[in-house]
Amino acid sequence: MIHTVNKSPFERNSLDSCLRLSIKGSPILLLEDGVLAATKGTSVSEKVAAAQSDHPIFVLGPDLQARGLAEGDIAEGITVVDYGGFVDLVVEHGTVQSWL
């Protein structure tokens, strides 16, 4: 299973719910406003860093760029993918749960 989160962690609890209800090892893809969780030096950075020990975390590049964020703004260990990479993740990891 792969989880996607499209909400800002500063505004909604989608990321929290995702972390509570995902088993260890399942990847998480951040997209749309969800990409804000991937940025360095924020009030949620620690939470995201802790989550990385249980989940590989991916972030959608086009959504970062649209929001004025570059790869250099992204926390270490988070992988940037494009839409093709998103498709590959879904192919590889099976069922998708979208935390809306």
Binding site: N6, Y83, V90, V96, S98, L100
Partner: protein
């Protein structure tokens, strides 16, 4: 691999339909089959041919329709959600068809993956 897609939002309030469109395009480019895109909730507004975005904006209604024609993607608008929102045959954009919610369950069963885009 066979994909089914669920789009829960219209083209002008949320990014969901844009994300779904880019996902579907990328999947097709990689040689996957997108069996059906099912439009539910405000997603039915993606099929409103009376929608007229400004010239410098993308026109998702037309983009979806073009994708359907070029790549044989079945675009289904949920009838119950559509009627609530005034989407009927008369204003249904090219490439879309109106059908029942059973078509969502059906593609869920038939496809290898169902991906939900919403808000």
């Amino acid at each position: 691999m066979k994909f089914g897609i669920l789009v829960n939002e219209g083209p002008f309030t949320h990014q969901a339909s844009d994300s779904a469109y880019h996902f579907v395009s990328a999947a097709i480019e990689k040689g996957h089959q997108v069996m059906r895109v099912f439009f539910y909730y405000d997603g039915v507004n993606n099929a409103n041919k009376l929608s007229a975005p400004q010239a410098d904006d993308r026109d998702l209604v037309k983009l979806w329709g073009k994708l359907a024609t070029q790549h044989n993607v079945d675009l289904v608008v949920c009838i119950a959600a559509a009627l609530r929102r005034g989407i009927v045959e008369e204003n249904l954009a090219d490439g879309f068809r109106i059908s029942g919610l059973g078509q969502l369950t059906e593609v869920g069963i038939a496809a290898d993956r169902l991906v939900v885009f919403g808000d």
